[in-house]
């Protein structure tokens, strides 16, 4: 399956819905969207990966790049993911310590609010 991207605001945080496969072919589209959001001054992001079927290190690089961009503006990029096969690559690479990873979008928003 190809990559589908969408985004909407919820409680002042921009939710990025990602569906499909994030790999060397599709990751540039996600990178472009994250850059576009940051350029549009959205610095609080939640990437909802519940419908992501595949993620490789190229996709990880895009997420880390997005995190660096929002942090440059004191922002945040949290993830929503409960799929073991996707979480596994975050664990292998140690990135579970870098991202806030939550079970639901509401939980991610609540966690972000609690940190403010």
């Amino acid at each position: 399956m190809d990559l589908k991207l969408d985004h909407h605001s919820k409680d002042g945080i921009e939710i990025v819905d990602v569906e499909g496969e994030i790999d060397v072919y599709t990751a540039p589209r996600l990178r472009e969207l994250l850059i576009e959001l940051v350029n549009s001054r959205f610095y609080q992001l939640v990437v909802n990966m519940e419908k992501v079927e595949f993620l490789d290190s190229t996709g990880l690089g895009v997420l880390v790049g997005g995190l660096k961009r929002v942090r440059a503006h004191d922002g945040s990029l949290d993830l929503v993911c409960t799929q073991e096969r996707i979480l596994k690559i975050f664990r292998i690479t140690g990135l579970t310590k870098v991202f806030g990873i939550h079970d639901t979008v509401d939980e991610a928003i609540a966690a972000r609010r609690a940190e403010k």
Partner: protein, 148 residues
């Protein structure tokens, strides 16, 4: 002799095809369903790395994928044609290209070798060998050898 051999133009779009073929052959070879995601991800990482290298140094050369059903093992070999000599254009060095991977400038600051680290975290047995012709990543998983 390999069960299935595949060579493809070094384009990112074909990496997905390589993943699908590898997963299908692994399933037919009797690799446990619980390991198929690991096969898919590891093959994808190896092919992505090869494609990125080819795009930098030898875009006309195909990436090669070999899938072999051995006795009790399913073995995958991904071979690139990025010869060490090709990576070092006269006096320029190899921008973003090291044995561990390529294209670090687009990788969000992650080390170029992260693809290899992921593969090593996924496959039981990983062997990386460099020759004058390029790099070969060989990896394997247990299989029942159920189908030939």
């Amino acid at each position: 002799m390999a069960t299935v051999e595949l060579s493809f133009t070094a384009l990112p779009a074909h990496v997905r095809t390589a993943r699908l073929v590898a997963t299908a052959v692994a399933r037919r070879s009797g690799v446990d369903e619980s390991l198929l995601d690991e096969v898919r991800l590891a093959v994808g990482e190896a092919c992505s790395r090869a494609v990125e290298g080819h795009q930098l140094y030898c875009p006309a050369e195909p990436v090669r994928l070999s899938l072999t059903d051995l006795a009790g093992r399913f073995e995958v070999e991904v071979t690139d044609a990025c010869a060490p000599a090709a990576r070092l254009p006269a006096g320029q060095g190899a921008v973003g290209a090291v044995a561990g991977g390529h294209g670090a400038e687009n990788n969000g600051g992650l080390p170029a070798s992260i693809g290899i680290a992921v593969i090593e975290g996924l496959a039981d047995d990983v062997q990386i060998s460099e020759t004058a012709a390029g790099t070969s990543i060989r990896m394997s998983w247990p299989s029942s050898g159920a189908s030939r």
